[in-house]
Amino acid sequence: VTSTTETPRRPSRAGRPPLWRDVRVLRVAFQLAVLAVVLVIIGVLVGNVRANSERLGIPTGFGYLDRPAQFPIPDSDFRQTQPIRDAVAEGFANTLRVALAGIVAATVLGTLVGIARLSGNWLVRSAARVFVEALRNIPLLLLIIFAYLSIALTTFPRIEQAWEPLGLAVISNRGVNIPWFDGSSWPVLLGLAGAAVVTWLIARWRRALADRTGADAWPAVWAAPAVLVVLAAAWVLGGLTPTVPDLDGRRITGGIRMSPEYFAILFALVIYTASHIAEIVRGSIQAVDRGQNEAAEAVALSSGQRLWYVVLPQAFRIAVPPIGNQYLNLAKNSTLGAVVSYFELAQVTSISVGNGAPAVPSYLLTLAMFVLLSLALSAVVNVVNRRLALVER
């Protein structure tokens, strides 16, 4: 018997097509050509900016950051004699104040409205639908201007007739004052961080115990008192005292003040983003297989239990990536605060440039800071997404 099996041979050099017809070579060459074109365009643009800046005597470095800002920032300790560097830092802090508070509030409101969109109650369902349809179809810029002019400055009363709901807040066209605390913010931040760590540790311990013994985990029940203890310790050790806003004639003492500008941008961003998050939550709930709900009903779970234990955990797995996009949009949309003179990062940059700071490095710095903020938010969302993702075998 003669074996006819041949050992596979690599194609000889002579058998290969010529370079200009070799698909692998052509692919690499095409990508190199595109890269070269992109690099040439970037080089031309950078060279153009440098040449024009030098011709006009505009510095292209970042030395301007040490010059005095020459403008004050309302509702802050920043003075106009301080350098632009501090103004940029204050502007970025204001951006963070809007973005982080907005993300938390929009998530809560959006989730509630999204669930309400699927409510069996016709009135609640219809109201949620009107909320979503109305706000999703209004330009955010107009919403911010409307919130500022029509709510913060017009609907809210003058300081003499300020609203004082339950004696806990003072609301007027000078701003919204809410209860706060006297003292440094550090004990609060450390207390919150400690509470988060304690919650994580207790949840891990209870889940491990549940896996080992089959007992109920109840991580929230166990974590709640520990969190309260940690927060109370931070409060006492930090020497914090609560203050409630008090109206004395035209003067308000105590509490913390939200300026009309901050209120307008935060309010508009929250309701606008919440309307988008609501649709994401609704779509995610409807994307959960109907059989899951029916199975939960079959084992006699109540409608609330079905929602909390069966539907929402699966829905949020679907919802996290698009909700993360909404967080990024919210952070970027905070730059629209400039229309109501809220001193966030873009507004500070704009005023700095108006006062003589070079435009190109100023805006490059602003762009870089927004890229960093967006990447940081994306990283957090990606971590949550990975934690929630199904582990496939």
Partner: protein, 228 residues
């Protein structure tokens, strides 16, 4: 066994129990929501009908709609609306006919009254917007333009349902080209600096929607092979 089809009259009490008062908690939610919504509605209606000052809109309506577009060229806006209505009607007619032929039309079996209700349900925001604008206008021009556009749309709908199938492709291409032609026609009257108001918003939106497709397709074309 003969199945008797009983035409049950709408029962308000049953509807209320099923949709608003399923249980005690639902009742509390309904009452609380109703109070809040009633208060909001009261404030909105009071503002719209009593305290709101709409004269500023009436006086500046032309500025809001077409900006500084020259008065002598305003008929171009009306002609553009009529042409846009005609083309929209033609495409609607073509789509309807193809749906009927494929057996997927949702409105094929409806009577005229039902069709009108269906149209109002689908296009109520557009109708409401037009009615609001016309209600604030004090000249016959906007009324004539709106009536002309509506008539052209109806005519296009009737004709579109009867044109031969072979021409459908050409009609779609013409519909895509129409916005560009209308923009050129409007710009011919006032140049690019004369645009403003809602007209420039519509122009930007249409241009962006049309241009985003080729750009998006080009930028993602590298992923096509990966998707296969």
């Amino acid at each position: 066994m003969a199945a008797a089809l009983v035409h049950r009259r709408p029962d308000v009490g049953r509807w209320l129990r099923k949709n608003l008062f399923r249980n005690r908690l639902d009742g509390v939610v309904t009452v609380t929501s109703a109070v809040a919504i009633a208060y909001l509605l009261y404030r909105v209606v009071r503002f719209v009908l009593v305290t709101g000052r709409w004269d500023i809109v009436r006086v500046n309506l032309k500025l809001l709609m077409v900006g500084r577009y020259p008065d002598v060229h305003l008929p171009r806006v009306a002609v553009s609306l009529v042409v846009a209505g005609l083309v929209a009607g033609l495409i609607a007619g073509v789509v309807h006919r193809r749906q009927v032929e494929a057996g997927t039309s949702a409105v094929a079996g409806m009577g005229l009254g039902e069709r009108v209700v269906d149209l109002v349900e689908r296009f109520w925001p557009l109708i409401l917007g037009v009615v609001l604008v016309l209600g604030l206008s004090s000249t016959p021009g906007p009324w004539l333009a709106a009536a002309g556009a509506a008539a052209a749309c109806l005519l296009g709908r009737l004709v579109g349902g009867r044109v031969p199938r072979a021409t459908h492709g050409a009609l779609v291409v013409a519909a895509i080209a129409t916005p560009f032609a209308l923009v050129a026609y409007l710009a011919d009257g006032a140049g690019w600096d004369g645009w403003g108001g809602l007209m420039v918003n519509v122009f930007m939106a249409v241009a962006a929607i049309i241009l985003c497709y080729p750009l998006g397709c080009c930028s993602r074309s590298g992923d096509v092979r990966r998707c296969r």
